[in-house]
């Protein structure tokens, strides 16, 4: 089976995000970038399939700025066979079309995406890519395997349980957090990944239509700073209780 994982490079979850002076974007200078967490789970699912069936190939693909090459390097270190980057800025439908053009050149049996990227949490591109490819898609997938008698058996998470789906032909899955944490790359994996070629295309060379509805961020605001806690100490228990009730009612306004 040939599996293709589409991934997005996002600010690492350890980064304390700061809003840029334009109040519409974040400061990206000097921050650590990483593969979006759900995309990492997608890679892990694909690699588990490869562990079980060595005939599997796993490819990684991204459309994004040149720095996103590092995310592909990480995917290769984890164990992906090859990776490719389309360099350029795209979003929404335009991004899905660009990915679709790149996917069509590769004819995978299965395309995996994270269910949503951790930076914008839109959860849009995976489904839009399925639409652009004209493929069926299943969302919130936690496991899949080759089904007896052909096709792919897919476990999809639902409230309080799971459903088992089956796909007979090429399918796109958006992946949910699954039981197994994404693997930590082995050192030989990291070394090999450093030496691998990552072919690059320019977004403009793909000739895809970038027109379409585009969402625009109007404003960004950091969450309010957390105030310090207060410990009530002075006075007897009754007075403390009364003071606590007063503060909860008048200041916190929760009573």
């Amino acid at each position: 089976m040939n599996i293709l994982v589409c991934l997005k490079q996002v600010p690492d979850s350890t980064v304390r995000v700061k809003v840029a002076p334009d109040a519409k974007s974040i400061v990206t200078d000097g921050i650590t970038w990483a593969i979006s967490p759900y995309d990492e789970y997608a890679i892990e699912l694909a690699l588990e399939h490869k562990d079980a069936d060595p005939g599997t190939t796993v490819s990684a693909l991204t459309v994004g700025p040149a720095r996103a090459r590092d995310a592909l390097r990480q995917a290769l270190a984890m164990g992906c066979d090859d990776a490719a980057i389309v360099v350029g800025e795209a979003a929404g439908l335009g991004l899905a079309r660009a990915l679709a053009a790149a996917v069509r050149e590769r004819t995978p049996d299965l395309v995996l995406c994270g269910r949503q990227a951790s930076d914008d949490d839109q959860g849009f591109v995976g489904m839009a890519l399925a639409e652009a490819l004209g493929w069926p898609h299943v969302a919130s997938v936690t496991a899949f395997k080759a089904a007896d008698g052909g096709g792919i058996e897919i476990w999809k998470e639902i409230e309080g349980g799971h459903e088992v789906w089956k796909a007979s032909g090429p399918v796109l899955l958006t992946v949910q957090k699954s039981a197994k944490e994404p693997r930590y790359p082995s050192l030989p994996g990291i070394m090999k990944a450093k030496k691998k070629e990552i072919p690059e295309r320019a977004l403009s060379d793909l000739g895809v239509d970038q027109a379409g509805p585009v969402a625009e961020v109007v404003a960004m605001q950091p969450p309010p700073a957390r105030g310090n806690g207060v410990i009530l100490k002075d006075g007897d228990t009754g007075a403390l209780a009364a003071e606590l009730a007063r503060r909860l009612r008048d200041e916190a306004k929760v009573l």
């Binding site: 350890t14 980064v15 304390r16 693997r183 930590y184 082995s186 050192l187």
Partner: protein, 674 residues
Amino acid sequence: MISPTGSFWTGGAILLFLVILGFGAFLWRAWTLVRYLRLGRVRELDRTDRLPRRLRDELVVYLGQRKLLKRPYWIRGAAHALIFWGFLVITYGTADVLLDGIAGLRLPGTETGVYVWTVDLFAVAVLASIVLAAIRRAFLRPPRMHVALDGYVILGLIATLMVTLLLFENAGVSAGALRTGQAVPPIAALLPLRFSGASAGVVFASAWWLHVITVLAFAAYLPQSKHLHIVTTLPNVFFRSTRPRGALRLVENIEEQESFGAATLRDFSWKQLLDGYTCTECGRCSDSCPALATGKPLDPQRIVLDIRDQLLREGGMLLASAEAAGTAPAQLHERKPEELWACTTCAACVEACPVTIEHIDKIVDMRRNLTMMESAAPPEAQRALTNIERAGNPWGEPREARGEWAAGLEVPTLAEKPDAEYLYFVGCAASYDRRNQRVARALAAILKSAGLSFAILGREETCNGDPARRIGNEYLWQQQAQANIEAFGRYGVRKVIASCPHCFNTIANEYPQVGGRYEVVHALQLVERLIADGKVHLSDAAARETIAYHDPCYLGRHNGIYDPPRRVLDALSGVRRVEIEPHHRERGFCCGAGGGRMWMEEKVGQRVNHRRIDQLRAAQADASKVASGCPFCLIMLEEGVGAKGLQEQVKPVDVLELVAARLETPTTAARETS
């Protein structure tokens, strides 16, 4: 000593034949064992440097039996020392007997009164020790001791040697075997045995031959037995690592290697394999292991013996074919890697081992294989590694927030004050953990009150790499070390203060491996000096309190810093310092957080930190505080006290906080921490 006289052809030839047989068997087996050692492919770097220190170790550790004569083992240690010293004295006599018997040659001094007295005294002392050892094995079996037939065989052989020695000396005197000028064996002559005439000659000859044959049988048996340690301890002590104990072995040219850590016997070094031959199966390492004591699957003695047993089992096969890999060390497959992950690298085993076996290196080498080759570190440990990689700290706190603990304290960064004399390397715990931020603030207050010129790196600081290296990710450690060394280099840092013993140990003992050489002090060493020099003024009006001191492993056992923290406590008015008997100083008991365990779950057995609190309460129930000098100890002790509901009885603190609370001119920071 005395020997039956006779021409070479009547006795000497037979003796020569037996000697060739006995020593031949020894050498044959010994040569095989040496060839097995050479299966270990890992290069050793530091096994022949610093000759004077190695010779000193031979005198103190091998000849002086220093590590055997330690509490709580000193009685059995003394018995061992007597047997050992007796062995040395009597071996000289044995060599004399053999040479005399074969060729009529005598070794110098063997006929003097001093020597015969020494031999006889030791013969009796050895016999007495053997009786004690046998009783101990049979009736007072120590829980961790590996008691097998081998031990009894050895004791029996030694006893036979001593009995036949005294017997042939006694009968030899009666039989007139003494030469002119030869001193009479004093104790043997006192034995209530009186042989005369022909019977004396027969008893003398029989006992003498039995003695000699036992010696040769011993020689042949030795390399099949754990008793080989009488031979292998000599090289094992000589070649012990001269690295600081807290420093792990560097993986050189890591980017050019193809495999990492130990997955097979060949992935160890010859010295690590020699450790196996040297193990006496005494069980002291296991006795002192905090993981084993709290019900974890780890047993440090088994780590050493499993490697040895496998070497003896598979050595021949591996020698025969360079292709053969053999099976993986037992910890990697038979028993689960959980054994390896249970280790806190506290070095209690290394400290306890009388023959200088290095347990931690083996465990870390196998962890290196699991982590770097197999990506099989426990998920929580992997998370910590990823966090160090991406955020520069194992908790995954924002890199940008590293210097925020110092907000409002006017602690400059090196960027702001590049000419500061000292760099205070804060470490991840004191930078991010709220409880330990108070310790960092306390130290800052002390340093400012002493007028010391210091600065921090702020967001330019990154984890020193200790957890990564001990979890087995040498590559990540090297990256962290390089990043810090580069940052230090930007400001020409020469002197470093660390309040965390792990930072201290790594920067002082491990950074030199990758080119970072600094003058590093632990905060408590520095504060001790500042107090002694009168630079820190402490108030004396303070309520009396009893404070127990807990030795952090990476301050104490790994770096020998036992006294400075105690002296700082003693300098505080009102403080009565007490010890957590018997687990203090060299026998201090780990808090459970070392070796990367801080970031791993602990689900099997009792938690190590809970055991530590039990020990504290048993030894010093009236201590109102337990002071330490390590952020991880502090976290673990607080958790232990909390879990046991003892918050009202005993409060874990860092010694630095106690000092800051007594500063004569308290700054804002000190008031905040008090």
